[in-house]
């Protein structure tokens, strides 16, 4: 049986992992590669590195960091931030990344999803989608609008429609990050996660808001997400990946990968 995945997200700023609330007030929590290795050894199923300052600093993704991670991370890992075109994507994949995550760029140039899928296969292309609750309307039938640049820029796109379109263009997976709950640790936005999971035929990753193991269990069972992305829960030291997975298996009877160490 295919197992539910627990993904740890590392937001990297100036080569250090930071964690903020709703993209603000970031604090330093450690070295990205060291942390990624530790999480893998503790049972993380995948790692995501977001080079969160690359775009703002108008530089490509930190390839050195990607290459360093590839030497120490032996589970699939995704990189995002600072990818401007297919050439940048190729560099990241050649450095050892398994997938690339496209967010604002995909909104600005949707064809990049198609070009990426054509060049590397759709399994390499993750659509990162930041969504904000705006209430149901003619323009936003799902009640959620896609936003970019850490929530600063509304796009006018309905989240479900954008998910469907991204799939048709070539996205192989959607990481849905709810802006309203990001870093709040009050639980994922289950409603929009479920709507997107129902609307597309590709895996959906719930992101933004996990604070307890129950939140993760809800993302898997109520929202039918294929994977759940966490950050603060483990960065704070309050939880471990192995502890979370043990509880998901024993208390919630969810199919997860349990490692012996």
């Amino acid at each position: 049986m295919l197992l539910k995945r627990l993904i740890v997200c590392l937001d990297v700023r100036s080569k250090r992992v930071t964690k903020g609330i709703k993209f603000k007030g970031n604090v330093d929590v450690g070295d990205p590669v060291e942390m990624a290795e530790r999480y893998c050894n503790d049972g993380a199923d995948e790692i995501v590195f977001y080079d969160i300052t690359a775009s703002a600093e108008k530089r490509p993704i930190d390839i050195e960091m990607v290459a360093a991670a590839a030497r120490r991370v032996f589970v699939p890992f995704t990189v995002g931030g600072g990818l401007r075109n297919v050439v940048d994507m190729r560099h990241a994949l050649l450095a050892g990344a398994d997938k690339v995550s496209l967010n604002s760029l995909a909104v600005e140039q949707p064809d990049i999803l198609h070009a990426g899928a054509l060049a590397f296969g759709r399994q390499c292309i993750v659509l990162g989608m930041d969504a904000r609750r705006v209430g149901k309307s003619l323009h936003f039938p799902s009640g959620y609008e896609v936003v970019t640049h850490g929530g600063r820029c509304p796009t006018g796109l309905d989240a479900v429609e954008w998910g469907r379109r991204a799939e048709a263009l070539g996205a192989g997976e959607i990481c849905l990050n709810a802006i309203d709950t990001d870093g709040m640790r009050t639980g994922y936005e289950l409603e929009i996660t479920r709507k997107i999971a129902d609307a597309v035929g590709i895996p959906v990753i719930a992101s933004g808001g996990a604070g307890t193991v129950e939140h993760i269990a809800d993302a898997f069972s109520t929202a039918t997400a294929d994977a759940a992305l966490i950050a603060s829960m483990v960065h704070s030291g309050e939880y471990t990946c192995s502890g979370i997975k043990k509880e998901l298996a024993e208390k919630y009877h969810l199919p997860v990968r349990l490692t012996s160490n």
Binding site: M1, L2, L3, R5, C40, N41, D45, A70, R71, R72, F74, V75, P76, L93, L94, A95, G96, D98, F120, G121, R122, Q123, G172, E173, G201, I202, P203, D226, A227, R257, T259, S260, N261
Partner: protein, 210 residues
């Protein structure tokens, strides 16, 4: 020396780094002579069967690879590499494979209502149905990482070493015979258990008798 065949497939870096992690000295090469000279051979693969077979033939690997298998060198094939060992693949409108193992490669075919996603992507358990020296330190039903849309339909049960279930359907996730061991999953992306399998390959003499 362990040689990784470079025919333009996508996961060379991760396979090489995983072997280096466990202390192997690795040569990534597109030179058929170096493949011939190697003690053990890794046939990696990410991509489509059509372009994979095409590049493999174009670079003159078919003969040296067959020879390596025939000489009894331990050979590990991964993902598309495993699929290319069989007679024929349904991918890209139909592609002839190397025909080293009996069977074909078919597309997963689930009804739309089943909502079963393709590719089969993520961690799934592998059930060994034969004792094999490559299993050392690996538990029955341990999970490995998969990404694929096509699967091997083995021509005889004898070449199926491991099985995996997806969407209620069981497929061959490990195949092989004698000195040939092939996985549909990616050991280089399967954490500690994947590295264990690669370590087993480094110490394997190519014999299957236990």
């Amino acid at each position: 020396m362990l040689a990784i065949i470079d025919y333009g497939a996508g996961n060379l870096t991760s396979v090489k780094l995983a072997f280096e992690r466990i202390g192997a000295s690795v040569l990534v090469t597109s030179d058929p002579a170096k493949i011939s000279a190697a003690d053990r051979v890794v046939f990696p693969g990410v991509g489509s069967a059509g372009s994979g077979m095409n590049e493999f033939s174009k670079r003159g690997f078919k003969e040296v690879f067959r020879d390596a298998v025939a000489q009894g060198k331990p050979v590990l094939a991964i993902c598309l590499g495993m699929q290319m060992l069989f007679e024929r693949s349904a991918e890209d409108g139909g592609v002839a494979g190397l025909g080293i193992l009996p069977g074909t490669v078919e597309a997963f075919n689930f009804s739309a209502e089943s909502r079963i996603k393709i590719p089969h992507m993520g961690w799934n358990s592998v059930h060994f149905n034969q004792q094999h020296p490559m299993m050392k330190g690996i538990r029955q039903d341990d999970a490995f990482y998969f990404v694929h849309s096509y699967f091997v339909a083995a021509g005889t049960p004898a070449v199926t070493i491991g099985l995996t279930e997806y969407g209620g359907f069981k497929f061959t996730s490990i195949s092989g015979q004698r000195n040939l061991f092939a996985t549909q999953f990616h050991p280089e992306r399967s954490g500690a258990v994947g590295l264990q399998l690669l370590e087993n390959f480094l110490s394997w003499d190519g014999q299957v008798c236990c």
